[in-house]
Symmetry: none
Subunit: 306 residues, 2 copies
DNA sequence: TCCAATGGTTGCTTTTGTCAACTATATGAT
DNA sequence: ATCATATAGTTGACAAAAGCAACCATTGGA
């Protein structure tokens, strides 16, 4: 731990001077860093001042002035939302131009910083930057996207969960189980009967879940997880919803799943989705006694409600 | 190149909010970021305002005021140098206290940011931070390092190879096989008989290999791979060497491996390490006919040579 | 000996950012 | 329907941060 803290602090120091974050003016432009960041958010779809303010953590008053500055420069217009308190921001062509000029100088500056690197170094750095961003959290306005699985996802799912469950002391048996379950999924994948969904934030895996045919009209929900840095966005619930919708369309009678009592946040998600606990049992699969739980959701109930 | 630029910019954005570099006050202290950085330099031996100014790239006038602020707070005293224009800075005990308080809050904040990470993630992050610092700072970085496996590596290995072999059209059967092989490795791992090595560059997996007991004094070398961007550094050969050394120490009589004719660079590595082709056979495991090869290395030969 | 450069300071200014009060609208509980 | 409370955004007043240019004292070299 101390090791990691020291490394992070060393990096912080080096990065502060590297990125020139102390320069008030952003690159050579006539914008401050705060203005540049706000314009970026607007150009990438942010419409409401409150959204920008939340993402960038700016003082609302300060942001209000920044936005008015954009308006007087003719970069944006402000409308009126369904909610009359809101003043939605629309980028004008001039605003688009201003952003693309800014974008280009930012790009050139980054390219300049990387110019001295050898090809292999640049690629290693790219990989390191992305994995670091994944570890520290995605960031950005778009909350998340959900897609179905593709090559390499199985391994990533197994890897992430092996790491996240490590602190529970479940060790190698858990890692082996993860490998077996994910391998079995692709080995026996039947389109229309099985599926796996991945939630991504800014291109980084933020969570996943899979649903497999367990026979007798039962679909089994497996390996639900959400990255710690992506929690609180409703990703877990959204993934479970996908499973439920898919299972209903596929004609399954019910969904069953196996989880552990210690995984409190997962339990909350299942309960919220309408699952109920049907069985509890202590097992020793992970090297030490652990309380496993079976939960079920009767799809006929759901259909009746809808 | 564009790839790297995009990654750097993504990272910059994510990191700016992560590190809270926009906050005027440094952490919760009553210092600005510039003051905190100046105090850091002084506490680490900077004596002359001009030195600090050069390192931190601050306006000399601004720095002068910052330093006077420290002086009025009783944190420093200013002397007279051999060169009478200089006003060397000396830290007082009170100044040392102020710095260590600042140092502690910085430390605690960093520790807090890392608190949510699992052990394996923290290790990966530490390695990535240090090599990124080296790469961005223009310094060289060790071409690669080799370590034994830890939590999450099995999934990563399976994921990377599933993606790399996708162009060969081996598809899901290959991905399933990768999951099964890696899962079996951890499931049956016997210390001293089996091992898996990971090559890392910039804290990112650059290649790996595993060696497992196949019975009858035979060790099986499996899943050797090197990332495309890390090729030409000798990583493949180094990984195979680890296997050979380990197998000899463990008392294996020979090493066998199964590969494919299309994987030309892997074949070269095996040949260079002294393996020879013993068998070729067409199989249909990956959905279409593929020529598999068995290679072997007699460890008695190696011992005789050494 | 004189002039350009260096280390550092000061006055003045603009920018940046913070805080609290305020308007207008929406929401939820009773 | 009403009232308290929350939300979206704005404004005024202000403090801090940062930049700029002029300046002094000293040094070092031509």
């Amino acid at each position: 731990m101390e090791n990691a803290v020291a490394a992070l602090r060393r990096f912080n120091r080096a990065y502060t001077s590297f990125a020139g974050l102390l320069d008030a003016r952003y690159n050579g432009s006539d914008m401050s860093l705060a203005e540049a960041r706000a314009l970026y958010e607007i150009a990438h779809g942010a419409r409401l001042a409150s959204d920008i303010q939340a993402v960038l953590r700016l003082d609302p008053g300060y942001l209000s002035r920044i936005v008015r500055g954009f308006q007087t420069r003719g970069w944006i217009t402000r409308g009126r939302g369904a909610d009359a308190r809101q003043r939605p921001i629309e980028l004008t062509p001039a605003g688009r131009d201003a952003f693309s000029a800014l974008d280009r100088t930012t790009h050139d500056r980054a390219a300049g910083q990387l110019a001295g690197l050898a090809d292999a170094d640049r690629q290693a750095l790219t990989a390191a930057l992305d994995s670091m961003r994944a570890l520290l959290g995605g960031g950005g306005v778009a909350p998340y996207e959900i897609r179905t699985f593709r090559a390499g996802d199985m391994g990533m799912i197994a890897a992430r969960q092996a790491i996240l469950y490590e602190p529970y002391g479940w060790g190698r048996p858990m890692e082996a189980l993860l490998g077996e379950v994910t391998a079995a999924f692709v080995r026996h994948f039947k389109p229309g009967r099985d599926q796996c969904w991945i939630a991504e934030r800014a291109g980084v895996m933020a969570g996943s879940v899979m649903l497999v045919d367990a026979g007798d009209g039962v679909a089994k929900l497996r390996l639900l997880y959400v990255e710690p840095w992506a929690r609180g966005l409703g990703i877990g619930g959204a993934l479970v919803d996908r499973c439920v919708a898919f299972a209903r369309d596929a004609g399954y009678a019910r969904i069953a799943l196996w989880t552990h009592t210690v995984l409190a946040s997962a339990r909350r998600i299942y309960a919220a989705a309408g699952f109920h606990l049907t069985e509890t049992a202590i097992h020793h699969d992970f090297g030490r006694p652990e309380q496993g739980e079976t939960w079920e959701l009767d799809l006929a109930d759901i259909a009746r409600e809808a």
